[in-house]
Structure formats: C-alpha cells, structure tokens
Symmetry: C3
Subunit: 469 residues, 3 copies
C-alpha cells in the first residue's frame, strides 16, 4: 500500500471550472498567520511548555468532538479515558485502538479532516488508521511527542498563530496570562476572554455562592444588583488590563430585557435568598445580558453570543463524567426579537460590537444576516460547533452572503480545546472560502481580483475588525 | 419519436469528476436485495396473490403522493377513483387520462421518478404519458396485469425483497401474517409492525372504545393505566411472536414525560370518563410514549418515531373521502427537549433502539444528527414523506453526515403503500447515496475504497443494525 | 483596464454539462415581456413622466436594499439622502461616492447583480464602481437621465413591461390609475393592488382614525364590524373597477380565525374605544383576514400573504427616518395551522386563489409546498425580500419543486420600489430557472423539451394563472 497522503485539493470544488480559481485563491491565504479570537486552549499549557503525555490524552480523551461519535458507536467514555485522570500506557493504547478501529465512523465528518491533517501534517503519520495500524500510528505520534519540536510552544510557533484568545472565568486572577506575557522567551500574543455566564444564571443552585466569590475577588460587595454591576465592571477592567478583546456569553436563549432598576434589585434579592421564580429569573438573566452589552459599549470588549445549548442532556453521563463530554445538544434559536432591547440601545453605538453564533441553521438567513446587514455593530459569527464542517460552512456562506455580504462576517473562529487541530480548522475555512468565492467567479457574479481581495480580508481584515485587534 | 427509455445515469451527479465514481459505487448496490423495515403494503395482497385489477387502482387511486398533485391541479379526488370502491373500466380509464394529461405537473418531483421507473422497468411502457398516449399506456399495463408474472408474489420475487414489514394495529390477530408464514409456497419474510398510536390519543373521541377493545383482545382489563400497560405488553409479545422487529409511533409532537403512577392513573381515569383537559391529555400521551420506550428497552422492538403531522387538514375532504388522501400536512418538530426524559432513562440501555424521522428539515442538523452522534440507541431515520425526494435526500445527507457520519443512519425506509414503487424508491436511494459518496471522493474527503464499503453497508448493514435483523 | 462588461452566462450553472442546456432554455425566455403582478412603483411617476432628478435619488436613496448595507458599513442614512428631501448635486454626489467606495460590500449579494445590470445595460456605464470612478459613473448616468429615452415611460417601454401592479391604500381614490388608463399616449397596463393591512391592526394607535377615514371614503359607517366589512367590500369593488387583480396582506403572522359575529362585534367595539387586549386584538385581526379571504373568494381578487416581519426594529432610526429604510427584520413563520380555518372554508372554492410568501425559509418545504401540492387555491410565492437572491432562489426551487412541482408556483414577483431594477430582477429569475431546469435535464430527471415548455410557462403561464390575468 502506498503511503497515506493528503490531496492538495481537499475540499476545493470538484467542478473543474471553479477548481482552478479556487486553487489560486487558496494559494493567497494558505500560509497567512492564524488569528484565533475565541477558543479554549489552556494558558498553562503554553506557560509550562511541558511535553504532551501521549497521543490519547492529547488528541482523543479531551476532545468531545472525537469521543461522542465513539460513544454513539457503543464505546463507553471510560474506555476512552474520559474522567479517568492520567492514563497508563496500556489504557492510552486501548483507547487509541478504539479510535482507529472506528475510523470509518468519521467518514464524511470534519473530525476526519482535522484528525487526518493532524496525523499527516503535524505528526507525519503515513498509514491510514485502522484496527491493524492502530499501534503503529500510536507509536509514530508518541515518538514525535518526545521531541522538543512537539512541545506546546514549538507547535505554537510552527502553527504560526499570531493571536490566541483563551476563555476564562471572571474571578480568574489571570496570573498565567501575566506570567506568559512577562516571559521574554515567548513572543506570542495570548489574551484572556471574559466569560461571565455562571454569574447570570440566577436560578442555578450555585449562583449565590458564585456571586459572593465574585464580590470577594472584585473587592465589591455583590449583595445588591448594583454591586453585581460594579463587580462585573471591575473584573472586566482587570481582563482588559490583561489584553482581553472580548466577552463571551452562552445562555439557553439570547434574550435581552430592560428592567427598572428597582425590579432588578428586587429579583436579585429574591435570587440571593433562593426564592426566585422561573419567569423572574429569566427576566433578570436577560437584563444582566443587557447590562453586559452596556458595559461592552463602554469598555469596547467585543460581545460574542453563543446561545441555544441544552447542556448535559444525559444526566447519568454528567454525574459519571462531568460536563463537556459530548452530551450538550442544540436548541432552536431566534434573534430578531430577543436582541431588540439591546440593539435599540446600542445597535448604532460606535464603540459596540457583537458577533452572533448559532447551532440552529434557521437563524443564518432569517435572523443573523438581516441583523448584520443593517446594524453596524452586528457581525455574523462563523459556523459554530456541529456546524463547523465543510457542507455546513458552505450552507452558512450561501445563507448569509446574499444579505450581509462578506464584510459583515467575523472571520473564522475555531472555538476549540484541541490545540493541534487549530491549523487544520483554519485551513478548512480557507479552503472552503476559496471554493465559495471561486463559485461566484465561475458564475460570473464576481471578478477574480475582487475575490482575491476578499479571500485575504476574510483571514486578515475581518477578525481584526470584529475583535478590534 | 424514439421509444421512451430511462437513462442509466439518472440522479447521478452531472459533474463528470463525480459521475464516474458514482457509477462505480452504484454498480455495487444496484442489484442487492431490498430490505424494507417500514411500510404499508397489505399482507392480504401477498397472501391472496390475486391479479391486480387495473392500472388505476394499482398505481393511481390509493397513492396520495400521486392524487394530491392532481387534486391541486383541479381534478376532484372522486374523478381519480378515491373513495369510489371498485372502478368500472370506463372510470379507471378516465382517471388514468387525468394522470397522463397532467404528466407535466410531476416534473421535478419524485413521483415522476417512481412512476417512470414503474412504467418502463416494471411494465415495459415505451411512450411518455400524455393526453395522446394515455390509452396506449393504460392498455400496455392492463395487458401485463393479466399475466401471471405480474401477480403480487411474482413481483415480490422479481423485486428481490428479502424483508418486508407491514404496519398493523395492536388488536390485529395477525392471522394473515401467520398464514403467509405458514404457506410453503411463499418464501419471503413479511413481518408485522406494532403501531399503537390510537391507544395513546386519550383525548380522541373514540379512545375509550379503542382501549376497551384493546383490553378484550389482550384479555387484560384496560380500566386502569396499569391495565393499559399490561395489555400493551401482551400485544407487543403477540407481535414479536409473529416476527415483528419494531413499533411505530406518530403523534403531533415527539414528547415524552415521566409521570408519577398515581398521576397517570388519575388522568387515565378522567380520560375514560371523557373528562380530560388538553394539558393532562398531552401529559398522559407523552407518558404513554415513555412507557412504550420502556417496553422497547425490555422487548427489543426498535422504536420508530414519525411526529409532526396535522392529519386531515381539510375537514370537508376528510368527511367526503376519509383519511390518507393527501390532506395531511407537516408541522414544526424539535426533538432535543422532547426526548430528554426518554433518553435520560433509556438512551444508553443496550437493548434500546430508536429511529427518528421528521417532515421538518430543521430537525436534521439541529436535533436528530446531534442526538444520534452521542446516544448509542439513536439512529437518524431516512428522509420521510415530502422529503423522500432527490434534492431533499441530498440535503438530509449533507445535514446529518457531518455530525453523525453514515454509521448512525438507519438505512433507507420506503414507508410506502405503493407496492410497485418499492424498487424505484430503493433504487433512488442507492443512486443518491452513490452520488453523495462520490462527491466526497471527488473532493478528496474520502477514499474510494472507503466509499465503496459504506455504500454497501448503507443497504445491507444499517437496516440490519437499526432493526435488529 | 478593459471596459466593464457583463458576461452573458452570468448565474448560469458553471458545470459545463448543465450550462449548455441552461443557455438554450434561457434563450427562450430572455426576451419575453415582463409581467409584474406585485410591486411598489409609484403610479404618479408614470403619469407625470418627469425626468428622474439624479442618479442618487433614482438608484440609491429610496432603495433600502442598497442603503441598509451601507448603513451597516458605518455610513449614516442621512449621508445617503434618506429623509433629506430633494438633494443638492453636492449631496447627491457625496452619497453616490459612498456607494461606489463600498462597492465590495455588495460582493455576493443580489444588489450587486441588479446594480451592475442597471449601470451597464440600462445606463451604459463602462467602468466598475469604486472610489476612483464614482464621479465618472455619476456623470454617465446623470447625462443619460437628461435624455428623453430615460424618462419613466420610455424606460417602461424599453423594459417591455406588459403588466405592472402597484400597491395602494384602500382609501386611495385611484385617480392616478384612472388618469393613466385614460391617457391615450400611454398603452401600458398598470393596475392597483388592494393593501388593507392598517385597517386590520386593531391595536395600533391610529387604527380608530384609520377605520373612520375608511368609512368616510367608502360612504359606509365603520362604527361596527359589519360596517367595516361593508366598507371593505365597497373599496375592493372600487379597486376591481380600476383593474386590480389582487389584495396584499402582511401581518406579523398569517393567522386566520373564525369568530362568532357577536364576538367580532364586541372586540371591534372595544378596539374602537381603545380598550382591546392583545389576545382579543390578535383574534379580531385574524378574523378580519379570514373575512378578506371570504371577500377574495367572492370577488376573485387573488390574495397574497407576506407575513412575519418585525417592522422598524430600531426605534431611533424610525423616529429619525421613518419606515421602509432597511430596519425591518424577519421573524419565524409557519402556515399549516395558521391557514387552516381559511382553507377549511375556501381551500377548494373555485374562485379563490392565495399566494404564500415567507422570509423564513423553513416554511418552503414544510408548509408552503405541501399546502400548494394539495389545495387547488394555494400557490407557492416566489422568494421574497432577503431571499430574492440567486442562492436563495435555488434553495427555494429545490425545496418546493419536489412537493409542488412547477405548476403550483406563482411566477416571479419583483416586489420592488426600484423601477430600474425590474428588468434585472426578472432576468435573474429567468437565468436561475433556466439553470435549475438544466440541472434536472443534466441529471436525466427531465427531458429538454419538457424543460423548455416549463421555462416559458414560468414566465408567461404561471403569473397569468395565479393572478387571473
């Protein structure tokens, strides 16, 4: 069998008329540095720069994109190392064999594209994963991981990441970010992102304790709603000082609501006592999101909204393995009415920027593109989770471009915990954008010089614009 | 005019790069036997093996896919024989002429593909239907129907159907199935499907009588909810003894709900007295569906869910012609929250399997694929009714594959009353899957050897897996 | 740089197999006269036949399709002349420069297609708009506008518009229509459309005054619901006398509801006193729409329904600039249950016709096509606003054709205020239909002679059928 290689035209249009144009457009962007304004890479990984332990704990166990389809195929999460702490080599190999044995389960999925890019381009694997080749693939990667060139910082450099944002709790002291920024041997730009969700979920059992802790860290009592606002402002300022450019928000809906201050204080007080009803709790959460928008209009942190997820859908899995193991599921989302109170107030404010994401594709052409095509503050977010895949990305471009063009989109967002998949994810986006633009050129809807300018702008200009870089 | 023939590349991708691959993949599956795990062919037809009466009552009158578009075109259903009982030859010919005169109304529809396959491949028609050719086409088919090779069993053999499931009421004694199974001259495998919908619709006027009859047939009093459960278990066992592999469920939404047994009994008692409110009635119906899931987890009957239909939308049509005449219409469907109570309890149970269908395409990428990509019990059902058409099937594959792959899909389901359309429906599916896989190969997202394995697995392996064959 | 020209194959499929067929089909329709059964061109423009003032006030300022994306790009609407009254040449030029400077913002949008068609085909512009060419483009168009061949009537003739419907308030005396019809020097057919929305919005502050005025104009007291009905009937008759063929309806949902006359009268009386609740107000509005349907079944005016728009989403913009400036946004729409009361009563009435539109694409395959595939009175409306764009139109055809075919669609509707864009909009539709049909031919789903017949029917036959021309 010949060595396993990746075709240079992967994901480019098969149609010969468009493929030639797509190749030329892709050539303009393939080697541009990576800007990653939203994701979940741990800062400590780059600060400590320890070698990665093994292929499984790097590429398989922590990535719910990978584990969920194995779980659906009948492999218990424990067999994949989920929730098992550090793995013995035997356990790591056994988990890895599950992945390779079920390789065909990934056919047609983006995980397949990312993994094969990682295996071939990053680690130099030359055989296709299968039950037979599992150990050989494991050995190849394990050998690489022992080399200095495969430590986190070396890969960071090799991946050519010019900007990386992490995602952080408002009470985080950001010491790791400070240390990394102060380290003269690391020249990358790695910044935190303000993610205050838990402090807005006023009906959650842990909420009262969470806001008490927020108050302590901020040095501002949070026993009133006004105190909550002041504490938030203080922590946002702390994040800005450490380089943050955005605040990220994910609730079950993207509702915003203007409450009288007195009503907000009353519901807040009820919530602190644990006596808040669902309707009041929802109203306060939506009002809090409006307050976050007001703060963003003031401090300039771009607001990103990732709504509509039913977290931990399967309670037994949550109880055994915890959160973020692949059991979060999409819900219906609409934006037009939900965002109206926010956009009435800040939609045309010069300092305000908001990027909208969805797991419900119906919002692309119906809500998000029309909003971004009118409000100067609104950007169309890149396809997110479940939709960060070739055909979905094409559907997204086709759904939003005709109303919002290219200039109202945010640039690609990888939103990943899987560090080694970052280049493959951005590469996928660049290939697909080249293909989409080539399709417009092939149908004489755009001239190639215009398409070339847009292709580069999508990688360089749009994230800079949407995230104020 | 040349003879009317069907092009061998029908429905394969027009793009030359993909078409060659598609042809090779289709060649692997075109002649494989047909597995039909859900449909509506009457068992008696195969048991009695009487010749079909005429072209109209075989191909036109009973098929609401065909009659609805003629009705929309202004032809009253009575003119098509609907609700008219046995047709005189004059009436049958007149109805047939309506079909041929309106042939262009089917342009671009799957009915066109199925009918032309039936006319040419099954009956050897050589002229395209039109006002001018209507009688000639009628005569050709009528002549064939008089031949022994066109009796039901002969066609069953010729269609190479290796497994066929019918759809049956829980009170059915399944005598026809028993007789067919006991007939040494028939070697096909024809099994019943348990379809208990009417016994869950507790607010329907006929419900109390229906459950009384259920109790009689089961020999278990159904004057309590516990009795209802026991009667259901008894009838499911009867169906299993007669070869059933699945239970089919179709309600206005796919809600499931866990009720205390005392609440269930109270609402059940209210319902028997005809004094149940809408909210209580819905709650009990959803709890009953959860009970059906519990039974499926116990007895292994695969659960298929076909929700979201407004039945008999046009009351005057229902009053004149009855149900199933083309006046059922789709509703919005979401699954994530509706199925949560069921999947919390049975989602990872080894013996439980559920296949999800929808008429609302928004559920493909948002609900169904994400659920099937995590829960080992959940399979993505094939596109159903209104969506069992080339472009819709392509949208479906594009919407679900990136999240659920191919292995989490159920295999093709024809769900048809139109016996002679079964080969055409499965052929359409095989052509489209070959084309979809060829597209992945042409874009270098999949190797052709992998695509070949998947193409065969979709026809052979998936239905066997999802329906426990 | 070579002269800016438009490629003859614009929007035709890039795939060579389909492109040849598409060219032949497009050749059959490209020069057919334009039938425009719904739009917003002012009648007075054609009656007065004054020269257009300048490029900006003709092509930019009044067209919210154009201004909204400039607004999103950071250009205040005032800078574009919106709400500024007649523009000085300096202001007109400055606004025009904004358009040309932001030309790339339209890449991939239909506005780009329409504008380039207008600039090149109508006005003979030979350079691509940009910051550098803005003045030259302005000058070219301004020079043309001074010529007699660019007056409204001359363009009307040149555009070959055989039928044009305007949109009018029920209290309009239609004097302009009468004068135009009586003018022997104008031979075009220009008719009004009955648009009674405001008289159905019973909770709107101005409603009571509006219906009082309606009563005055109709000469029928509107102090009761029965009076309202009689006044409506009277005004509809007035419109019919002036050539109207349809009545247009746009509410937040397409709900219809049968109320007892006593309930309708009671709510109506409450509404006149300004004491109507939201639920009652919605019920009466839906009942009024049902009454409009009853009137359409009686008088034969085709009913067009354009639901699901949140008007004037950004109140500050509305207060500064008024309505119709690009701040209307789409909402979710479903039809199946909403229209049931109407279709139960009139769905099979011979004289009744209704055309359904949506801004929410989910309704295409789920609601609209299934309804039009059963009810002889229901037609699938062309993609509307936000969706009147190449990829959306393709999605629409793909979504509706498999269920409703071609014959149940209404023909193209331009729905535009932008007079000069009418030829480009119809041309876009013809190109896309040629391409869609060519795709079916290339996949051997349709013979080319059938496709040819359909292509012409979509331009000539469908609008005539759906609007009773």
């Amino acid at each position: 069998m010949d060595a396993w290689t990746l075709h240079p035209d992967r994901l480019l249009p098969a149609d010969p008329a468009a493929r030639g144009v797509a190749r030329r457009l892709y050539d303009l962007t393939r080697d541009l540095p990576i800007v990653s304004p939203h994701g979940h890479v741990p800062t400590a990984m780059l600060l400590d720069d320890e070698p990665f332990a093994d292929p499984t704990s790097l590429l398989l166990t922590p990535d719910h994109y990978v584990t969920r389809l194995l779980h659906a195929s009948g492999v218990p999460l424990a067999e994949l190392g989920v929730g098992q702490g550090p793995l013995s080599e035997a356990d790591a190999r056994r988990a890895w064999r599950h992945l390779c044995t079920h390789w065909s389960a990934y056919a047609g999925t983006p995980v397949r594209f990312w993994l094969e890019s990682e295996l071939v381009d990053v680690f130099g694997v030359t055989v296709r994963p299968s039950a037979e080749t599992a150990d050989a693939v494991y050995d190849t990667i394990a050998a690489r991981l022992a080399e200095p060139g495969f430590r986190p910082r070396a890969l960071f450099d090799r991946f050519d990441i010019s900007f990386l944002a992490t995602t952080d709790d408002p009470v985080d002291d950001l010491a790791a970010h400070a240390a990394l920024a102060a380290d003269p041997s690391f020249t990358g730009r790695v910044v935190p992102t303000f993610r205050p969700d838990r402090y807005l979920e006023v009906t959650a059992p842990a909420w009262a304790d969470d806001v008490a802790r927020l108050g302590e860290v901020a040095g501002v009592p949070t026993d009133t709603f006004s105190g909550w606002v002041a504490a938030m402002e203080s922590r946002r300022a702390h994040f800005k000082e450490h380089g943050a450019v955005s605040a990220d928000h994910s609730h079950v809906d993207p509702g915003t609501l203007d409450l009288d201050r007195a009503d907000a204080e009353r519901i807040y007080a009820d919530a602190l006592r644990g006596h808040v009803g669902t309707a009041d709790g929802t109203a306060l959460r939506r009002h809090m999101l409006l307050e976050q928008a007001r703060m963003s209009a003031d401090d300039g942190l771009t607001m990103t909204i990732h709504p509509g997820v039913r977290r931990n859908h399967h309670t037994p899995t949550f109880e055994q393995y915890g959160a973020d193991v692949g059991a979060d599921l999409p819900l219906e989302v609409s934006y037009t009415d939900h965002l109206r109170p926010m956009l009435e107030r800040f939609g045309t404010s010069p300092g305000f920027t908001v990027v909208l994401f969805t797991l419900d594709e119906t919002a692309f052409s119906r809500d998000i593109a029309p909003l971004a095509g009118f409000y100067p503050s609104v950007y169309v977010g890149a396809p997110w989770w479940f939709l960060d895949a070739p055909d979905a990305i094409r559907r997204w471009r086709a759904a939003v471009t005709e109303t919002a063009g290219f200039s109202r989109t945010s640039g690609f967002i990888d939103d990943t915990r899987a560090f080694c998949s970052i280049p493959a994810r951005h590469d996928m986006s660049r290939r697909l954008d080249a293909g989409f633009l080539a399709g417009l050129v092939a149908e004489h809807r755009l001239d190639e010089d215009e398409a070339a300018e847009i292709a580069v702008d999508l990688v360089v200009g749009r994230p800079a614009k949407a995230f104020g870089l």
